[in-house]
Symmetry: C2
């Protein structure tokens, strides 16, 4: 009873107001706090620890594939950002600009880095001379600033944390391969670590990155039916290289421009984790990134033997490599249950006088609510097995939801209905931007991607009636 009351006070229900549920969860689960500047948030320990797990996984994958980390300046002179025309047009409206340094007015105002293509290019221009210097496979972890009008924690901020890879290659083929290879690594991150199935594909001309020839993205589907772009990779061709005079002596002795890519994921992934898996009791964290994978809660802890038994369980789990926490504070067990449900801890380990008497431990799974009683000596092994099992269950649940929310549509009425239901409207498309614009105008949905699976299921574009050339996925999006 007490337990339920706490839950009800805690957060808005998803079906009542999904946006408010999200805002409640990010605060109540102590993921973030607002600072006094709109759109600049504080990443509290609980969200930062998830980000560190994401970093660990990606750093390992990046380094295995030959990438090296660097760090570029936090400021870009206005004149430098202007070197590539499309790029500056894309970013100019979002810039935070500094014009006073050490009490003096600056001649060339400095833009607080919104993305680092121009900085990498300026550096590459100096260090790439020969085909022997290629490829350059650099990545950096940093924060970037984009002056957004509408902001939501983790989803859209004036500042966010990300990694941005920027690579230079001798040949077009090598750069194209890199663009797709990094997309695969992001997809692996979703499937193997975050328990999120991504929709992968190429962006339309309208939706691609400012300055890129091609943009690819991973898109996650939220329970409110909206898509969340969760990562992108870009193929630039030689555009920036030409704008920045980057040249190398090729194997034939001639000067050439290298081929470029960039790719990034950000703390927006935290937003995806929260929404894809969360429920009315709060977060449900995928076990491989959960800062605490198992929490040990003593029941009737004032009774003799309970605290020592709980401490022993904690020790056993820690020694087995589980990220474990023991809560022996003076709060009631009911209060603690609710708190760690809110925080989405995958496994709760309960131990009370009766369990001790019977030589058992009770395990509760956050994702399903299921309770399991195991012999004490089997506890560690069971928890170790539960981690991949919970991950799999969470992934499969999200994947099922995704499959149920891809609707093939043949006309605008079906498109409307599909978008009403939520998720992706899969449509044949003539390829004209006019039709893409019209759908956005009518529905606010945007082309999320041209999926890699281009199996045609019709001949005409539902908007203009002309011959259809491509399969495209439309959805409302964050």
């Amino acid at each position: 009873m007490e337990n339920k009351q706490i839950k009800n006070q805690a957060i808005t229900r998803q079906e009542d107001d999904f946006a408010q549920w999200y805002t409640d969860v990010v605060k109540k689960a102590e993921l973030m706090d607002y600072s006094s500047v709109k759109g600049f948030i504080i990443y509290r320990p609980y969200s930062y620890a998830i980000w560190e797990e994401i970093q660990n996984y990606l750093n390992k994958r990046f380094k295995e594939t030959g990438h090296e980390n660097v760090y570029m300046p936090t400021v870009i002179p206005t004149s430098l950002l202007q070197r590539e025309k499309d790029h500056i047009e894309g970013f100019a409206p979002e810039c935070l600009i500094a014009n006073i340094g050490g009490g003096q007015q600056l001649d060339d105002p400095l833009i607080i880095t919104p993305t680092s293509e121009t900085l990498f290019c300026e550096h590459y221009q100096k260090i790439i001379k020969s085909y022997r210097d290629l490829p350059k496979l650099y990545n950096q972890w940093r924060s970037v600033v984009r002056w957004e009008k509408t902001t939501r924690p983790f989803l859209r901020g004036a500042e966010f944390l990300w990694q941005e890879g920027h690579t230079m290659h001798e040949t077009e083929e090598e750069a194209r391969t890199e663009t797709l290879k990094m997309l695969e690594i992001y997809d692996d991150l979703g499937r193997d670590v975050l328990a999120i199935p991504f929709m992968k594909g190429r962006k339309t001309e309208k939706e691609k990155f400012a300055g890129a020839l091609e943009t690819y993205s991973i898109e996650a589907l939220m329970p409110d039916g909206k898509a969340l772009q969760s990562g992108t990779t870009h193929y630039f061709g030689q555009g920036f290289a030409k704008a920045f005079d980057i040249q190398f002596q090729g194997r034939d002795g001639k000067l050439e421009n290298p081929y470029q890519t960039s790719w990034g994921v950000s703390t927006r992934l935290l937003g995806a984790i929260i929404m894809v898996h969360g429920d009315d009791n709060g977060l449900v964290l995928p076990p491989y990134v959960a800062p605490v994978q198992a929490v040990v809660i003593p029941v009737a802890q004032q009774k003799p033997g309970v605290i020592p038994a709980a401490r022993e369980l904690e020790k056993l789990l820690r020694e087995a490599g589980i990220r474990v926490k023991l809560d022996e504070s003076d709060k009631t067990p009911g209060w603690k249950f609710s708190e760690y449900e809110m925080k989405g801890v995958p496994i709760r380990v309960e131990i009370g006088p009766r369990d001790i008497e019977n030589g058992v431990v009770t395990l509760a799974k956050r994702n399903t609510g299921e309770k399991i009683s195991v012999k004490k000596e089997d506890m560690v092994e069971t928890v170790k097995n539960l981690i991949p099992q919970i991950h799999k269950e969470m992934y499969e649940k999200a994947y099922k939801y995704l499959l149920e929310h891809v609707t093939e549509v043949k006309d605008l009425k079906e498109l409307d209905k599909a978008l009403e239901k939520g998720g992706y409207a899969k449509m044949m498309w003539c390829g004209d931007e006019a039709c893409e614009n019209k759908i956005k105008e009518l529905t606010t949905a945007t082309a999320r991607c041209l999926p890699f699976n281009q199996m045609a299921f019709g001949d005409t574009c539902p908007v203009c009636g002309k011959k259809a050339k491509k399969v495209v996925l439309f959805a409302k999006a964050y």
Copy 2:
């Protein structure tokens, strides 16, 4: 001959011009590059990888001692930075200030974070309510911006990377203990990882941090006789807590202000590593932070069997957990020897046709130049043993230099002579700032610290002749 020529072309000799030697090394060893904005440097892969090793060590130590990582905003409203009087006075002259966001003039201009005390305090004010919420042991890794007039790579920049710990405690004693504990962790980093012996002590009132009650520092001694402040820890008492209205309900039910500390080390440590250990052939990296601990160089690699033998050595070393690189590029062995000497790789592994014939491998130590011939089957074990051995030799060499450059002085003439020789002039001091100022005026040297060992060796202050109360170390400093 060829080898020598390359070396001579490469960098200025230390004794000819130490400052120029430093500037040459940071560029030639590919540690950094300049960006187009003065004082904002590019951390290239080779320096960033050293920084990552430092992060790994410190993160482990911080987490073991209960600290959690967070991330705070990159901007501070001017009004917020002004909340603590001494603090804003200290930082105002160095601020980079943004006043345009999204094309609009900002009402409250934003300072690009030079340090985050005020942001932490604003957050702590919201989340600390009870003694149960204490201690708060937060740390963050980030870049900060300080608009410095005179800049040198890694040593003093308009932007640098650092960690800043900010903690809040229930009692004064606990906060004071934290301040000293973190200094010990920094000292361990020097002794066990960087092979740098630090001089530890308390800063004078004049030299302490803006807003702190007490500042402690670790100081490293450079080969040009100048000290380099390499890390600081601060005890703040309740000053900021009062200025920011941070209150908690104590165990007795009464409202109290918590006690605060902060502490940080930065990429300045890279400057210390470069200078303390480097020589006329370039970097000499301490093996525990060296991005490459051993480089395998095939000699006469066009001869049959040499490349496969070199690859086998690389594989064996990698499997033994050594950070190893094989260079089978078409450069000459002499060229490669010079390159990896410049980059300070601790161990060079040479393998040529004659070595193969004799079943041996030649190992060369960067720090001493010593060459060792070992049986192939003993190679891995020897390299594994060389790592702690080289570390120890490098530490002992630096420690011997330090001991030889601490001179007890009894009068101003001796002080001058000691500073002329280089290193620390150890002096009895009355404690008056006037005498401290006078020494600075006469010699440009500053009080580096009041060392923890306060064993008196005289009764009078050499400047004013009054009764001496403290032992103080003066030195010229970066």
